[in-house]
Symmetry: C2
Subunit: 318 residues, 2 copies
Amino acid sequence: MDTNHEPRKEDILESAKRIQPYIHHTPVLTSRAIDEIAGAKIFFKCENLQKAGAFKSRGALNAVFSINQLDINQGVATHSSGNHAAALARAAQLKNIPAYIVMPENSSKVKVAAVKTYGGQITFCIPTLEAREEKLNEVLNETNAFEIHPYNNYAVITGQATAALELIEDISDLDTIIAPVGGGGLLSGTALSAHYFSPSIKVIAAEPSGADDAYQSFYQKKFIPSVNPDTIADGLRTSLGSLTFPIIQRLVSDILTVNDQDTIEAMKLVWERMKIIIEPSSAVALAIVLKHKQRFDGQRIGIIISGGNVDLMHLPWK
Amino acid sequence: MDTNHEPRKEDILESAKRIQPYIHHTPVLTSRAIDEIAGAKIFFKCENLQKAGAFKSRGALNAVFSINQLDINQGVATHSSGNHAAALARAAQLKNIPAYIVMPENSSKVKVAAVKTYGGQITFCIPTLEAREEKLNEVLNETNAFEIHPYNNYAVITGQATAALELIEDISDLDTIIAPVGGGGLLSGTALSAHYFSPSIKVIAAEPSGADDAYQSFYQKKFIPSVNPDTIADGLRTSLGSLTFPIIQRLVSDILTVNDQDTIEAMKLVWERMKIIIEPSSAVALAIVLKHKQRFDGQRIGIIISGGNVDLMHLPWK
């Protein structure tokens, strides 16, 4: 695919076919108990049950498998402390090329182990954005690897869009889809899929109030970076990208925020009632519904459960 | 159905149709990472994602919906500290009859709340088997309710058999199915379904070594009760029943035991790698496979994940 333009309808459909052999078509789960609490009918698209435990597998695979082979035959690289790192390592392993991952030295052991499982070659750095970018540039120069950014990359956005495409295909007549927003890869992909495949669906973003740069950017209509984010939702601390922000501005209906306490309660509710493990970044979307019950009263709501990578030794309700 | 004889093939097929509107056809999930660790291909039948969080919904529904209406129009009753309590309350609510549940006063808050959610009427008693049976007899006398035993009841066994029936229908060429054994309702139902629908499958029981009454009974060929069971697998502390033991003796190939430490490690492995919440009683089956790798090497193994009702405030690895 041509990765220099915003994803078109056919790009998303091609991406879905391209990555299909390597991903799970994840189930959509429901809970009568949670529907009663919410006063709405909620369809949870379970990307926590995706390969490598997150929707990030989709974007990383689509990038590695669609970018010109000549560009990536020396390998791919990224800096990431989170789910993109493992997803990119896995995609590269499937393509039989190296993956160079720059990770901050305070990354969780679980995430480091996941990258190693998929054969990723890790370079540690001190945990600042400057150090991460500097170290990544060193790695890129040394290896001639090709950078795959976690969200500011059209091939990645196109891959993430396939989660909402599956949800729309599986569940008819949704009124709203809610996706969490960090860098905006999942959110912009979700908005594109709704726009192309079921334009009556409203796409709403869920963001922690302690990292509300997307909310600020959206309503001030200019890019506001994420500075000193303070939230348990570790996947949502990043700033929007130059490619994701314009799509979000054009196609997303609203961005709503919640505090971490509401997020933790929503997370525990899903664990208890649905018996699935979701990470805090995923619980933000349900917390939004429970906080704005009147707004969503009686609706059919799709929620993208972004991932399930949690350190089980440090749960937030302890 | 006539509930006075051992379940026949057609009883199980009828039961599957009868309860189908009220249960989930639960997904069968797999994990490449766990398969690599085990050296086998494991298919997890996820009854933790069943209504009320456990396979017990099947047996309770089949009993309430197949027993003569005249026998149960004053309601149903049981004593249970666990998943059968919530499952029976739910089945009675769907049938619009009362459910009287005798629970020991030290039952977990989560389980008490679940029974109340489904409109069950709880009577508390002191936590001994004698007190539970005495209190249940009082309740039965006062209410004229009909007792539905958690496992020593052919209609219940028939309902539990439908989990393995679905697994056999969904996954071809299984070599082995492993189910945990407490009172033997799930195990005897599983063994009957394998016998009728895919007789080449070996059915193996998984039991905690701290509550190995089924193992002892099976190999001594006589009923040995569970005395002072000591295991984290709270669903597996009960003794076999007079109806379940003969089926198990005839149709189960082997009973294997593991200690709680192995069970806790298997439980954590499933939480981490599969992002689903399973209770200790369910992890016993995977622990068996990991302990006996040579025996199961290269096999296609079905594991019945019995339930996901866990107190999230008290996890065993803390």
